[in-house]
């Protein structure tokens, strides 16, 4: 047998001295953590979005609240289509 074949045979014959059981449980543990992370990540996202929505709700409800009386009238007129767009534009430009 030449040196190369002997070398390959040595590679084939080695048996690892490893505790495969303990590695198995470590892997299972990590798999569980990954699974939990993949479930909890969308949940955390949903909670954040909901919180942001709830926090911005008062701002959304008071939309126009900080406008002047005149501004509020313009907004009302636009929203309720009481005048044409041209008329509204004239109103704003002439103001």
């Amino acid at each position: 047998m030449d040196q190369y074949s002997y070398y390959i045979r040595s590679l084939k014959q080695e048996t690892p001295k490893v505790n495969f059981d303990s590695l198995y449980w470590k892997i299972k543990e990590s798999c569980g953590e990954k699974k939990n992370a993949s479930i909890s990540r969308p949940l955390v996202g949903l909670v954040i979005v909901t919180l942001l929505f709830l926090l911005s709700l008062p701002l959304l409800m008071n939309r126009g609240g900080s406008l002047s009386e005149e501004g509020r009238t313009i907004a009302y007129v636009f929203q309720n289509d009481e005048i044409s767009d041209h008329a509204a534009a004239d109103f704003i430009l002439n103001d």
Partner: protein, 175 residues
Amino acid sequence: MADSEFTLIYDNHKEMVWRLISRYVFTREDREDLFQEVFLNVHAALPKFRGEAKIETWLYRITVNTAINYVKMQNRSRKLQQILANLKIIEDCPPPEIDDLSAPLAKLNPTQRMVILLADVEDRPLEEIASIAGMPLGTVKSNLHRSREIIKKEVKKDGSIFVLHPEFETRNAES
């Protein structure tokens, strides 16, 4: 995915995976780390396995790809460590010691190493290696030829390669 399926794959192939990854990284810590990473990838990929390829082929592919990526990442981090050591920001960290049996293989690039391990140690057919590596058959053949030449040269150079690393023991040698 049934856990029993994963357990079965682990039980049947753990030694093969260990044997392969042991030729890519050389410290016990790295080997355990890479071994776990391979099986975590297997666990993640198992639901997508459609059974078009043999399970062994699929597993070899995951193992060598994970090992090659791990080595690339390690090399990048070692280069960064060297730069930081040159700048005296951190202390110089010597490269890991390579056991005698792995030393000739360490002279090969990751692709050559994969080809020779699969062809000569795992006895996989060249067509299967081409499928595992995602390369043409001709490229596999030329890589194998080149790798054998390098190993033969290395084996001639150093006769002490057969002193095994304490982490391993040899089975009874065949007559």
